[in-house]
Amino acid sequence: MNKPILSARTLTKSYTQGTGELPILKGVSIDIQAGESLCIVGASGSGKSTLLHILGTLDRPDSGELYFEDRNLSALSDDELAQFRNSTMGFVFQFHHVLSEFTAIENIMLPARIAGISKDQARADAMRLLSHMGLESRANHFPNQLSGGELQRVAIGRALMRRPKILFADEPTGNLDSNNSQIIQDLFFQLKKDYGLTLVVVTHDQKFAEKFSRQMKLSDGHFST
């Protein structure tokens, strides 16, 4: 078996609730192989999103370790993690979080601009992504001129801007109608193929989940296969 691209070791996480602690993850371990498509399913409140956030370095575990290839991510500072995320990971959320002050193409350009890539280069790359997603005619439209499905495609384009190795998605179709949901689902697998992505997705949608090469079910803070 190949070396995993991302490896989590006995992750725990709890939240403070009132005076007590509410444990969410109780020692979760997982190895994610490069190029695989992994789907995390589970009931509401089972800790799927929390796990995704920790795997994506958006949150830190209370204990446990996270490795990207051979690099111990737990040891990195917040700013180092920000830089790491920018170059290695992409995120798509249930709500598109497309910034309303920027046009579609500018939203997609943002991660590249933050990384210090020139405006012209970023614009050219963003335009390629937009046309890949059939949105080239919408490049200069502001978010309030785009539909929900289009906005989610812009968010996906933004996540792919820095050519990440892993794409994380948290309920990416959870806020869309069935037609748009289907478009986005197909797009994910198309992009996975085109860009050689490792896909880690959290979803409630059983049909969507079945399309992944591996499904992991989270319940009571543990994985149950």
């Binding site: 956030h53 994506g56 958006l58 949150d59 917040d78 700013d79 920000a82 830089q83 995320r85 920018n86 170059s87 992409g90 995120f91 959320f93 709500f95 979080h97 910034l99 309303s100 002050e101 920027f102 500018e106 943002l110 991660p111 601009r113 933050i114 990384a115 210090g116 502001f142 978010p143 309030n144 933004r158 996540a159 801007m161 820095r162």
Partner: protein, 409 residues
Amino acid sequence: MNLTLFWIASRLLSSSQRKILTLTGWVSLLGLVLGVGSLVVSMAVISGFESTLKKSVADVAGHVNILKFSNEQITWQDLVEKIKKSDDLVEDGVPFISIEGVMAHKGKLSGVMMQGLDPASIQKVLNLSTRLVKGQFQIQGGEEPQALIGKGIAQHFGVNIGDQIRIVVPIASELEVNQFRRRLVKLKVAGILDLGKFEYDQRMIFTNIETVQQVSEIGAQYTGILLKLKDIDQARAFIPRLEKTLGNGYRIRDWKSVNEPLFEAVKIERVVIFFVIFVIILAASFNVASSLYINVVQRFSEIAILKSFGLSSKQLVRMLSLQSLVLGGIGCGLGVGVGVLLCFGFSWLQTEFGIIPGSVYKVDHIDIEIRFLDVFIIIVTTLLICYLASLAPAKKGARMTTVEGLRYE
């Protein structure tokens, strides 16, 4: 990199409806504009007051005033030559005699200062000719001596060009030391001067030095010399050198010490006014910061998303500070604009309506002077305050975790 942050910062300042700023932002910005505008105006007025005063004193009384007490028999020409040779800074000198008198005209009486000057050298030292508002710039002596009078005197006595004025001058009695005789001198008004300073306008009468020498029966004696220097600002440093050259028997003062308390008061006023009005800017800057704070809280999710794709906390702090500096910059720009407009308005008001009572403020007209250094200091301090005030919201944004922000949707 900073350009990118500037791009994001300035874009995030606009609201989703593509308005340039939200209402809160506009209101806080307005405060900043008014604060900066007021400070620009007040500094321009104070600077103008100082310059008007300085120019008036320099034009009327020269850069350096030398009073001769010594009995040294030296003609004024020789004395001026001696001074000029001693220092390259000296441009020229004019002799003068000052005597107090009482002017009587059309049933009115008023104390005046009659200053006799050498008509040949007056223009080389004093800048009186540019202050002529009526008539001709002439002070010929002879049978019918001419005089130039302050506009205050002209107004008070209703005197016009060509009119004859009478001045009674007291002459100390050589026999009885406590007695004096009075001499009458008749002068023909050749010109009326706007001398800039209220007291000058109300009291000064310039005439030929020979006329005053004859009236006061002092022969070729003179009160002293007025000097013009190549650089007025070096006057104070020049005095000790001149004292060394001339020795005892002379009292030497520069243009500033002639009016020392007034210039000192202006200096203090400038500092006090700056700090008082700066409080407005301080309050406005914190208003800007508080609208930024609201912005940060309202945009938790946007900030979180920026962080999720790699914006570091340091970059975020820089970005939010940039937002504040952008607002501060806009506030300064508009404020300076408003200030300049108000200055023009003030100039127009004082020209049209004479809003400055000279008896109170020493001058009745201020040449508004917007100094680059004043504006520079105002802009730099305002931006500094805006930057410091932005640190709290910036730190708030940086402390916020990405996951926390994502939950805010």
